[in-house]
Symmetry: C2
Subunit: 460 residues, 2 copies
């Protein structure tokens, strides 16, 4: 049976682009979820690498005819198991649809094939030097289609929002094989129900994206990075809303526990520039003039000092800025091997200090610590559950669920930017009512009547 | 039968809040769609004015039990027939849910009941003087719930986007009666399918909104309005993308044909300040400093001059600014009685000049003129089909459809901000494939299995 399927798929897209040899498929079976909780499907899969929406359409029609699951796959950089097949499936890699189609300077938009990586997109923008795309989930190997499907966030959501705010148009192959274009190069569009927004964040369960048009910005002439140190978390947290109320909107506001930043700096063979205090806020700022940048920085420092900041350092040269960002990007690297799970909750920004207090108390109850970094102005904190002797701690499940309940108590969410995928699906009933989940199932059915696309993701 | 229903509804929400007397219902039967194409249901309806989500839930459960349509109604300021009942229905007015619940300065958010008007919201913000909400569909009698349901736009989308970009959380009574909260005071939220975004712009067909949390901004200290005149449309249009590419993002960029602005000024007993040229762009600008405002204005004038601008006038005093805005807001008033239909198409911003040329040629073919005002940086142009001897012209339907096809040819949309409602529903197949419409029907069914909520809107 399986050989027959392989033969039929080869007829559709050519024999070079279909394989069921494990050695070639291996790298397509997992994602970047922490090793201890990563999914490892053992069942046989078939890997296909189509080159066009038409080929994808044919594959989906065929898959419907034999009711075989199809799992679309981008860069595999996700952290929720969204791209990991759970049953014997056709793994559909978008890697051959990797072209930058058009840089449209007039409309400040870029159109790319879904399999183009973030690195490809940024490289194409760098050639122009006047345009800017803010969304960066940390790994530039992420494919743009995957970033849409996971509604990627990252550090710069404070000023520019998330992937959802930048997707103007999608070419999508529907699960039933039709090729459609959702949205357009439009700022406003109110015709019909908004299928474009339904597709964003749907994790490959409602269609396969083949082309993406994204909004860009004119690049700012000046950027700076400001590091402000505090003696305690609450003071750091409380200063952030005051800054936003003043009309200062940094690109990013990052929170870091000092032990984490020191260790990350050491790991990179450098030193963390702050020594007073025990926690830091890192503000990334931009401006049209140097004056604008200075006046924002001064105002931020003034407000932080009113909240008992103990030190501040400004990095202006691109080298100094890069050093700080590299450390922040590597916050996680030194203790990666000791992390059982990296959580991704968000709460209303003003609730972050209370959320932190509750989480700390909870960690004490379990006799562990719970290091944190976070996009603090977004209320999005990444807490790390540590492993015990290289293993998932015995209290892992219970501890994690208690943390989720704390986030939900503050009106928060279990996942802010990493996605539901397969690893968080079972916690859906913590955040949603039965009726909401029923509606989601109805939506899935409307797009994918046979349930062939990425089964086991978000809902069953 | 009808008396029985009235009695049962009175049991649910009290006899003061249910009526089937035509004199009391009359004002709830239409909206602000142009008189010549406005819908006027003749069938009997029952008007209910519940005061809580719980009462709305009971009404919906009852309506499901007798399969009677329910049409939710906000301020009635819509222009697509979205709130107009087409069958003998329960008209459910949100007017008693009109409280401003919380102004949350820490999170820069405001929570209101759905029946609070835009005027109520702005009044509550004015008391604070430091916070700003940008979405303004022209009529402050619009209720906030209605603005969410119609995904309202308006002039200030250039900098701040549309209603969709500001809705953080909704309390919704689902068609089947369950009360749910979608979203939260969150910047990022990736758990499950995004039912919040599905609800925005769904025109009262997927649920009844009872509470809304919206994003606010710190108010800018300085604002200015700049008027730039050109001899022709194309020059005016072409200057706009150049300005945005320079990193200058005005609050609004409005396009006006000179005869329209002159007539609107006369109507208000004043004069339009520009006399050179034949078309004008109006830029609304804000800034944190006076310098920032000046430097943006100078740069805009410089770019416009490179595109053959013939004059520019800056209004700085709030009185001068208000005068210009009043004229723009009344652009439509003097010839309202001669308008058969006000269209609401949008195209990619860079396609506006070609779109204008095509529309002008088309109007010549029909031996008529087609005045226009528009949110030009959004590519959203309001074209007016004029009446002939006070009646709908004989070519109305054909002319309109040809215009729609021009917008769609440029990758545009039939409605940018006014909504599909009941008046544009029949043009859905022009913009969407059969499969897309089927999926929309499936989504409707997932939310509203008995199809009781606002039938005949968007889809059948």
């Amino acid at each position: 049976m399986k050989n027959k399927i392989v033969e039929n798929l080869k007829k559709i897209i050519g024999s070079d682009w279909v394989t069921n040899e494990f050695s070639q498929i291996q790298n397509y079976l997992t994602d970047e979820t922490e090793a201890l909780i990563r999914l490892h499907p053992e069942e046989d899969c078939i890997l296909v690498k189509p080159s066009s929406p038409e080929e994808i359409s044919s594959i989906l029609k065929y898959a419907n005819s034999i009711l075989m699951p199809v799992v679309p796959r981008g860069g595999g950089t996700g952290v929720c198991g969204g791209a990991v097949p759970i049953k014997s499936s056709i793994i559909l890699s978008l890697e051959r649809l990797n072209k930058i189609i058009e840089l449209d300077e007039k409309n400040l938009m870029i159109t790319v094939e879904a399999g183009a990586t973030l690195a490809d997109l940024l490289e194409s923008l760098n050639k122009q030097d006047n345009l800017f795309f803010p969304i960066h989930p940390g790994d530039e190997g992420a494919q743009i289609g995957g970033m849409v499907m996971e509604n990627a966030g990252g550090t710069k959501a404070v000023k520019h929002g998330i992937m959802r705010n930048h997707v103007k148009s999608l070419e999508v192959v529907l699960p039933t094989g039709e090729i459609v274009t959702l949205g357009g190069k439009l700022i406003k569009n109110n015709m019909g129900y908004d299928l474009l927004h339904m597709m964003i964040g749907s994790e490959g369960t409602l269609g396969i994206i083949t082309k993406v048009t994204l909004k860009l910005y004119a690049k700012s002439d000046y950027t700076g990075t400001l590091l402000v140190s505090f003696d305690n978390r609450r003071d750091a947290c409380d200063s952030v809303p005051k800054i936003l109320q003043e009309g200062i909107t940094p690109l990013a506001v990052e929170y870091m526990d000092r032990p984490i930043s020191k260790k990350a700096a050491e790991h990179l063979g450098t030193t963390w520039p702050a020594d007073k205090g025990s926690v830091d806020l890192m503000f990334m700022l931009d401006g049209k003039t140097e004056d604008e940048l200075y006046s924002s920085s001064e105002k931020i420092v003034e407000i932080c000092e009113q909240h008992n900041a103990v030190d501040s350092i400004i990095a202006e040269s691109s080298k100094e800025q890069k050093k700080l960002l590299d450390i922040r990007s590597n916050a996680y690297t030194p203790f990666k091997d000791h992390v059982a799970d990296g959580l991704d909750m968000a709460v209303p920004p003003s609730s972050v200090p209370d959320f932190f207090d509750d989480i700390t108390s909870l960690a004490e109850k379990y006799n562990t610590s719970i290091p944190a970094v976070g996009h603090i102005a977004d209320g999005n904190i990444h807490n790390f559950i540590l492993s015990v002797n290289g293993k998932l701690p015995s209290y892992y499940e219970e501890f994690k669920q208690e943390m989720y309940k704390i986030a939900l108590k503050y009106g928060g969410t279990i996942t802010a930017e990493h996605g539901t995928g397969k690893t968080r699906k079972k916690y859906m009933p913590l955040q949603f009512t039965k009726r909401e989940i029923e509606i989601m199932k109805g939506i899935k059915k409307a797009f994918d009547p046979n349930g062939i696309l990425n089964p086991g993701t978000i809902i069953d």
